[in-house]
């Protein structure tokens, strides 16, 4: 089987129909001018022509903002637990139209959440999900994946990767799972020509050049510069601006901190244990008994996120944990720009 | 020797109210409706504020009828700025108002009034004997809330109505859901309404002037001339020539009279007395089957009128939603320019006629604000009713004079927090 096949846009709609029969499909949809990932039931809802990234990243489909871990029931002196993991297992899903940066973010989350310990909820959702990526034809002004080594080319982590070539898509097969999908729908695909593959390369080069118009350092190699400048003045400046709203964490495809609490029923006889997204920018994030807050100063919280991306990630999983999607920059009301911060640190 | 009967902090009404009745030589000499609620100076606080802030503040006048306060303030500001809405947006506005009416009437009739007739002091005490009814009523409340939330963004203190329209519009899906909800409301409300219509209220009549908006084939909530029964009509902007206020040292609220000093009544009863022929088919049939007739001169019939309105406005909501689904609104908000201006809006709050009046400067800052609430308008009438009703009761020598008098107060569905905004600048 070749690594590259093509499918016309018309046939892609047919493919979508078929996928909808076999999978729960998550795809980009547009509503009121905004693009977001959502479960879809109708090919007409799917929008594969969007620019840049979605506001919220795909992580929410693997690590949802609110997740019930288990429920419990207390009767007399007895407690019974009901694992919610069972409900997560076995769902067959297809995630369509995710960008190379987001594909990379899933690979990063895999390294973090499926290691010595395994987060079973995340792992189960990952297992059951087919990843169909979509390269960028048009990055937006916040994209800088070329500097984080995570785009515009995706080097792996997908089952299929589509590239828009006008009236058709070039599809790269990235895994056995992806290949099976193609084989099952051979009537819709045909082998790609050399020209078509070249066309994609040209396109990606153009996109990369566009992103590289920004002048940024190679962000995969900023560890030393960061390590040296932990106490630099500029962190105070960012700290003064930061609103501690946590939007940057919520939209970051690799942020995965969470809080856990119990939610009892009204009579207390049953309830659930829930985990929700948390943010290292919240004051309460490091509060321990006695009221001590370890990162009570805002600059230290701003640093926590940025250092986690460019330094601690390297300590933790051997690579930086920023994929250059630019979401955190887009949503920050205070205009804190992580690439600008990195650049300034390198130039110190 | 004079004896003073004071009903203190009357329960199951919105806000703090005392009713003091002075009895001299077996005859009622005086009745005072004393609003105790802390005055909230709202009109003063509005001065100098940007017109955009007004609706948020105005809705905080009252937690029960917040929806209509918001809509009325927005309409008054629109008059001031010369903004005219397309019909669909007006329909949506009416829907917000209807949601508020349904919420409020359910609360009043079943949480506040019903216990009186069942000889109980609170709705919780009704629970053991009437659980299915209470559950049904709670469900109706939930539906009314949901309708308000769909259009207004939140069930209490809605957020979407703004000058020029709405900040956002409900999707088709949501409108469909609202329609289903309105239909469910209409079905479910039938039995509880019958219950109210069948209750035996104390017998008491006193003719007064009934003031409400008057409609052509409808019971208008947001527009129309103001009808004063037996004395014709006036236009909203002329309100100051037709009603006037008096300040009473005993009350935190202003009390209103007609220009000749006579008292008048506003509310559901006034609306139906002036618009009876416009009741929806369903409501009219129900009225007929219980031989409820309008005009009625018994203040206790205000509750019956409210019950009929539950049916009427549910049916009206269905009509509106059908129309909106047929031709949905295009834009959520129309453009306008901020300039100097003055505007008055007169609407029907659940408790009756509501007036918001603003003047804006060239930058859109408020330079004058005047709000006339239904309860404030009703105080004088309530006092007059109380005088006569207590006189009757004394003659009959009834034992539960206080309870009966409280029932009279409750029939008015007073909303004291709304009314207590008294202030006078030095």
């Amino acid at each position: 089987m070749e690594r590259f096949v093509v499918i016309t846009k018309e046939d892609f709609t047919v493919l979508l129909e078929r996928l909808l029969g076999a999978y729960q499909v998550i795809a980009p949809v547009e509503r009121e001018g905004r693009i977001f990932l959502s479960y879809v039931s109708d090919p007409a809802e799917v929008n594969m022509e969007y620019k840049g990234t979605t506001l919220l990243p795909p992580k929410r489909f693997f690590f949802p903002e609110v997740e019930v871990l288990f429920t419990y029931r207390v009767t007399g002196g007895r407690v019974e637990l009901y694992d919610k993991l069972e409900e997560v297992r076995g769902a067959k899903r297809a995630l369509l139209g995710v960008r190379p940066c987001d594909i990379k973010s899933l690979e990063i989350l895999d390294k973090v959440l499926i290691g010595e310990y395994k987060d079973p909820y995340y792992a189960a959702r990952r297992d059951g999900t087919l990843i169909v990526g979509l390269t960028c034809n048009e990055p937006d002004e916040y994209c800088f994946c070329a500097f984080t080594g995570s785009g515009p080319q995706a080097s792996g982590g997908f089952d299929l990767l589509m590239t828009d070539l006008g009236d058709r898509y070039l599809v790269e097969i990235g895994s056995d799972k992806g290949e099976r999908v193609v084989n099952l729908n051979l009537d819709l695909f045909k082998p790609a020509s050399k020209d078509e593959v070249n066309e994609r390369e040209e396109m990606l080069k153009r996109v990369e050049a566009e992103i590289r118009r920004q002048e940024l350092p190679d962000l995969t190699k900023v560890y030393e510069a960061f390590a040296k400048n932990f106490d630099a003045e500029l962190w105070l400046e960012y700290g003064r601006r930061c609103l501690a709203c946590g939007k940057c964490n919520y939209v970051c495809p690799t942020c995965r901190c969470f809080d856990v609490y119990d939610e009892p029923s009204l009579d207390g006889s049953s309830g659930k244990r829930v985990r929700v997204w948390d943010s290292c920018h919240f004051l309460s994030f490091t509060r321990v008994a006695g009221g001590k807050v370890f990162r009570s100063e805002r600059p230290s919280r701003v640093k926590q996120r940025i250092y986690h991306k460019y330094c601690y990630g390297v300590d933790e999983i051997g690579e930086i944990e920023c994929v250059g999607c630019g979401r955190c920059i887009k949503v920050c009301p205070a205009g804190i720009d992580i690439r600008e911060a990195a650049k300034r640190v390198v130039e110190l | 020797m004079a004896k003073e009967v004071v009903l203190e902090k009357v329960a199951r009404i919105e806000g703090l109210l005392n009713l003091a009745v002075v009895i001299r030589e077996g005859r009622v000499a005086e009745a005072r409706a004393e609003a105790l609620e802390g005055t909230r100076l709202l009109e003063r606080i509005l001065l100098g504020r940007d017109y955009e802030e007004v609706p948020d503040l105005a809705s905080r006048m009252c937690g029960v009828c917040q929806a209509i306060h918001r809509v009325t303030s927005v309409q008054a500001l629109e008059r001031a700025l010369g903004v005219e809405l397309p019909e669909q947006l007006e329909l949506l506005r009416e829907l917000v108002a209807i949601g508020g009416h349904l919420q409020s009437h359910i609360l009043h009739l079943y949480f506040f009034v019903l216990p009186d007739f069942m000889g109980r002091s609170s709705v919780f005490e009704l629970l053991p004997s009437h659980e299915p009814l209470i559950r049904r009523v709670l469900r109706l409340k939930r539906i009314a809330n949901a309708i308000t939330e769909i259009v207004g963004g939140r069930a209490v203190h809605p957020v979407t109505p703004v000058v020029g329209g709405f900040t956002s519009l409900p999707s088709r899906l949501k409108l469909e859901r609202a329609l289903a909800l309105a239909k469910a409301f209409r079905d479910l409300v039938e039995e509880p309404v019958r219950l109210i219509l069948s209750l035996e209220a104390p017998e008491f009549e006193r003719r007064t002037a009934y003031v409400s908006l008057r409609g052509d084939g409808e019971i208008p909530l947001l527009k129309g001339p103001v009808a004063v029964s037996g004395r014709g009509e006036f236009q909203p902007h002329e309100y100051e020539r037709h009603i006037r206020y008096v300040t009473e040292s005993y009350s935190m609220a202003r009390h209103y009279t007609l220009s000749d000093g006579s008292e008048y009544m506003v509310g559901a009863l006034a609306r139906l007395n002036n618009n009876y022929h416009n009741l929806s088919d369903g409501a009219r049939e129900m009225a007929a089957s219980f031989s409820v007739k309008f005009p009625s001169y018994s203040p206790f019939d205000n509750n019956r009128a409210q019950a009929l309105e539950l049916v009427h406005f549910a049916e009206r909501a269905i009509e509106i939603l059908d129309a909106l689904l047929e031709s949905p609104p295009g834009r959520a908000r129309i453009g306008f320019e901020v300039h100097e201006g003055e505007g008055v809006a007169v609407t029907e709050a659940p408790r009756g006629l509501l007036i918001h009046h603003y003047r804006l400067d060239a930058r859109g800052r408020v330079t004058l604000a005047n709000i006339v609430t239904p309860t404030a308008q009703n105080y004088k009438n309530l006092e007059a009713d109380a005088r006569e009703f207590v006189t009757v009761l004394l003659k009959q020598g009834v034992e539960d004079l206080e309870r009966k008098t409280e029932m009279l107060i409750r029939a008015y569905d007073p909303c004291v927090s709304c009314s207590a905004r008294f202030f006078r600048e030095h």
Binding site: C245 | A11, E14, E37, V64, I134, T167, S251, S417, H426
Partner: protein, 241 residues
């Protein structure tokens, strides 16, 4: 076991928060099964009792009489909960920079001056349920936790955090003066989700950065309202924690 005794009281307010409690519908019936409601004027409940386990007080203190009543409630109650913005902050966040003391008013009923004070100006408040109006589910959570002997803690985040989870476009980007960045969350960002700016009804967030918001407004050409300067003076614009 005896059911905890609960009283619900109103100082001066619009009673919208109590309406929100009533709006809990079926859940309120369930709630009432686990407690004994002994005092609530709005619902017509008035039983005789000495001590209260939980007093829920709505509204701001506006008169000597209310002050007296509040102190009495406090004396009698184990736990006192301030319900809604009026009780938590005297409704001042809503009224913004309005200077109550400076209003020359001629008040009826022998009142000398105007005031709208938060409960904790006079008595110790154990728990605060923020918002104008409060969020019903928030109240339900407090109620459950109190019954279980848990400490209720308000949301640790501000409105923006919830706003972004609703997939909203930020209003500041459209030049709308949203107070979400400095306002305590927990309302589900209802206002921005409906396209309306947050007016800060839940009060200042625990770690509100007023300075930065002023800077943001200025940078985006949004006129900085007087009350933000006022707030800056009060909290120093900076960190609290």
């Amino acid at each position: 076991m005896e059911k905890p005794k609960v009283g619900i009281f109103s100082m001066s307010s619009c009673e919208g928060c109590l309406v929100q409690v009533l709006n809990l519908e079926d859940k309120i019936l369930e709630m009432m099964r686990s407690v004994e409601l002994v005092d609530c004027r709005l619902l017509g409940v008035k039983k005789s009792y000495d001590r209260l386990d939980i007093a829920i007080v709505e509204g701001a203190v506006m008169s000597d009489e209310e002050e007296r009543e509040l102190r009495e409630i406090r004396e009698r109650s184990k736990i006192l909960v301030a319900l809604g913005d009026c009780a938590c902050h005297g409704g001042r966040f809503l009224f913004k920079d309005f200077k109550f003391d400076s209003v020359p008013v001629d008040l009826p009923r022998g009142l000398k001056s105007f005031r709208a004070d938060p409960l904790d100006k006079y008595v110790k408040v154990d728990y605060y349920v923020y918002g104008c109006p409060i969020d019903g589910d928030d109240f339900l959570r407090l109620f459950k936790e109190l019954l279980m002997g848990k400490e209720y803690r308000p949301a640790p985040f501000n409105v923006c955090a919830e706003c972004v989870l609703k997939d909203n476009e930020c209003l500041l980007d459209k030049g709308i003066p949203c107070l979400g960045p400095i306002t305590r969350g927990g309302c589900g960002a209802v206002c921005p989700t409906s396209g309306r700016r947050c007016i800060g009804c839940r009060g200042l967030a625990e770690d509100a950065n007023v300075d930065s918001l002023i800077e943001i407004f200025t940078k985006r050409g949004i006129e900085v309202p007087e009350y933000l300067w006022e707030l800056k003076k009060q909290v120093g614009g900076g960190r609290r924690g």
